[in-house]
Structure formats: C-alpha cells, structure tokens
C-alpha cells in the first residue's frame, strides 16, 4: 500500500519536474524570440561600454565640461577612471534595462492578453512565473559578463594599457554590480503582475532609481540595498559586507511574492 503511494508520489514529482523544465524551455524561447529583449541587450551592453569609453577618452583629453560632470572621479586616471565612470553609469542604466525587460516579460502576458491562455494547463502558473525569473537571471548574468568583456575591450581600444590586478578586481566588482542590479530589478516582476502590464513595472524601476539617488545624496546609501552595490563598486571600503548582503533581501521578498501573485491570479479585471 505504502509502496503504491510512494510510486504515485514519485510519478507526480517526476511530472512536476518535467513541467518545470518545460516552463523554462518555453519562457526562454519566448524571451529570446523577442526583439524587445534583443534590442535592450544591445542597447545596455554596447551603450554602457561606448558611453563609458567616450567619457573616459574625453576626460583624458582634458575636456573641461566632461571633467566637471565627473566630479571627484575627474581626479582619477586610466583604468581607474574608466571603471569609476562605468560603475556610476551601470548602476542606474543596468537597473533600468533589467527592470524594463523583467516588466515586459511579466507585463506582456497582460498587455497581449495571453495570460488567459496560461490557465488550465498542466504547467502551473507558478512554474511559468519561476521560469520567467530564472530565464531573466540567466540573461542578466550573460549581459553582466558581456558588459565586463566589452569594457575590457573598450579600455584596451582607448589605450589604457594592460590591466593590472587592481583593475581586474575592479572589473570583477563591475561584473558583480551588474549581477546585483539584475537581482534588484525583481520588484518590477511583482509590480508588473499587480499592475497587469509592463508600465507599472517600469514605473517601479524608475522609482527605485530615483530613490537610490536621493538616499545617496542624503548620505545613507550604504544601508539602501538599491544604492549599496554601486557605492561598493566605486569605493569598496565605503560599504560593509552586511550592507552589501542586504541586497539579497530584495529578490528574497519580491520573487516569492511574484510567484504567490501568479498562483492567486484571476482574470477579474
């Protein structure tokens, strides 16, 4: 009797695993078959690298306006200047880019009205929502890696010379900054679900970016998870490990909340 129950439970588990795998495959095809994602990827990676490379080259050339805008970073030189500029640009740009894509991944189902077709399937809606987040994080990791590689190439192209250990460590921080920015974008998934479209998610992302700017100006950036990674990437000593670890609270709250919202979803509006 118990053996039969165990077998049944095992069959159910196998089926559930298969369905979760199916959800990831389907969401990956949907995501990477979309021009929105391809365009955002190109804009994000190439945009940050080109902008940072151009600003650094202009700063090295003594452009007063650019040096003025760079503030304290203007005193830096070479790779140090490039990576300082990049950290400043990446924090808002990556969060915005990641937030837009995640908002679109969740919100499009409502905007395109395909959400109704995701009910009454053997693949649960929570599996689909989890698959969206997993695919997003995988894409985010690829973008972060591509960005770090492109920055290295940009630095070499504008003649900054071979990177030393310190530069490689800064590049690694830059890579982690982009990865953490992907985690910090997870509220977009939840808000796009609650608001039933991409725009609420994008609005929430912009709200986070503005809030981070305000908190940094107020001097409490280290304790604000959205601001801490950028401050750490620019000046590692300015942020404690505890403050940096607080970044994980954002996805740890928002990802389960998103899954719960998809589980409880109804077509009632």
């Amino acid at each position: 009797m118990s053996g039969g129950a165990d077998r049944e439970s095992s069959v159910r588990r196998d089926r559930a695993d298969r369905m979760t795998g199916t959800a990831v495959v389907v969401e990956a095809r949907k995501t990477f078959g979309s021009r929105v994602v391809l365009t955002t990827t190109a804009a994000l990676v190439a945009g940050i690298a080109i902008l940072a490379g151009a600003l650094t080259a202009a700063g090295r050339g003594g452009n007063e306006r650019v040096l003025d805008r760079l503030g304290p970073l203007a005193e830096r030189t070479g790779w140090d200047l490039l990576l300082g500029v990049v950290a400043q640009i990446t924090a808002p740009a990556a969060l915005l880019g990641f937030g837009v894509v995640l908002s679109w991944m969740f919100g499009r189902e409502f905007a395109d009205r395909t959400v109704g077709a995701l009910f009454a399937l053997p693949v649960r809606r929570t599996a689909l929502a989890a698959a969206k987040i997993l695919v997003f994080l995988g894409w985010g990791a690829a973008v972060a890696t591509a960005l770090a590689a492109l920055l290295l190439a940009a630095g070499l192209m504008i003649g900054l010379g071979s990177p030393d250990q310190g530069v490689l460590a800064a590049l690694a921080r830059q890579h982690l900054l982009a990865l953490l920015s992907a985690l910090l974008a997870t509220p977009a998934a939840w808000v796009a679900t609650l608001g039933r479209g991409p725009l609420p998610g994008i609005g929430a992302t912009l709200g986070l970016i503005v809030a981070a700017q305000v908190v940094v100006v107020a001097g409490a950036g280290g304790w604000f998870p959205v601001a801490a990674p950028a401050l750490w990437a620019i000046e590692p000593a300015s942020v404690t490990p505890v403050q940096l670890a607080l970044v994980t609270t954002v996805p740890l709250i928002c990802a389960p909340a998103t899954l719960l919202s998809w589980r409880r979803l109804q077509l009632d509006r």
Binding site: V36, A117, A120, L121
Partner: protein
Amino acid sequence: MVERRIVANGLSRAFSPAAGVRGIDLAVARGEIHALVGLNGAGKTTLMRLVLGMLRPDSGTCAIDGHDVRTAPTAVWARVGHLVDHALVYGDLDTRTNLVLAARLHGVPRARVGAAVRDIVDELDLGRYLGVRARALSQGNRQRAGLAAALLHRPTTIVLDEPTNGLDPAGVVALRSTLLRRAAGGAGILVSSHHLDEVARVADRITVVNHGRIVGGLDPDGTDLERAFFTLVHQDDQQAGGAA
C-alpha cells in the same frame, strides 16, 4: 469511464449587482457539443472562465473529469484545451514555434511534438503560415493558429469562446469538422457563439444565458432558432423588470 466531462453546480460570481453569473448548473457529457448562446455581456465568458479556474466562484463548484477545478491534478489539465479571451499565440514568434510551445505547455511529450504540430496544421490548413510571425497573420489566420494551439494535444475537454470569430467560411467549415470529429471521439465540448445558424449545425444541446443566468434551452433541430432565442430573452427581461 467518465460520462460527464464538465459539471458545474450553483456557480456564482458577481462583479456588481448587474454583472457576473448566478447559480449556474451546467453539464457537458462525453461526446457532446454543448453551446452557450446569449447577448453580449450575458455572462458566457465569465461562465467559461469559472469552468477553467480563471476565476474563483463566490459560491458553487465545477469539476472536469470528476476533479474539482481548484485542486485538479496536472494530468486532468493535460486533457483540456481552451480558447477563451485570447489564444496561446505570441506575436513575436512564428506559427510553427507557437504551436511547438503550445504542445509543450499542454504536456505533449517532446518526441511527439512534431507529429502533433503536423497533424493540427493539416487539420486546420495552416501549412502556408508556419514560417510567418503571428503578428503578421490576418485576424482569421491568427484565430486558426489559436484554435490549433488549443486543440493539438487531442484534449478530451474543450472550451471555446466564440471560436468562429474572424474565420473565413473555409475556416468555419474546418473548425466544424474538427469539433464534430473530436466529439465523435469522446470529447466533451463547451462552445459559445453569437451565430445561431452555426450553433445549430454542430451543437447537441443549446443553453441560453441572459443577465448571468441560464434562462432555458433551444432545440438544435428547431425551425426558427432566432425567434425562439429572443422569446426566451425577452421573457426573462420582462420577468427581471417585473421583479425590480
């Protein structure tokens, strides 16, 4: 063997005093095509959403193949096909990719996906559009693709809301043949339509919905369905007016 694919008992869901459905009892038997007819806003789509678990009822229950839709296992949902509101079709993807993804989401084993897609493409004559992005399809062909996505896994419970929307006459005929064949094979089909003539051609049973309630049935073999339909609706409107 399950004799009734869908059983709804006392289903109610209110959006406002004037909108929603109240106390709906409904059954769709194995091999039966059961049509819902009613004016716009009568509650047909709401009822179908309740049947598929897209809405939670304020009261009442619904079961598919004997399983309450709130707790039905995945094996039950793998035997359900539906097109309510919008199809499982993404504009960025071509028809072939959309159908492959629909097959996977409906639980078709990977090894059988290709055959399932080929069969439904032949059945609904979609071969010319396999490489076309869904966004570029005409409304009718997009509807065909949506019907293909809903039916390619050979579901035994089928729920379709206004399935002939946008279809050309050839598409209507193809859909009619498909539904009749699926019903003959044992599927239970719940379908809504505004087209009484079309309903009469396929339905075994016709139920009239008005103001969120079932107000009667029509004989599919009757001579003047339109007159019979409006008689039922007007009687109900008058009773509702009198009660108010």
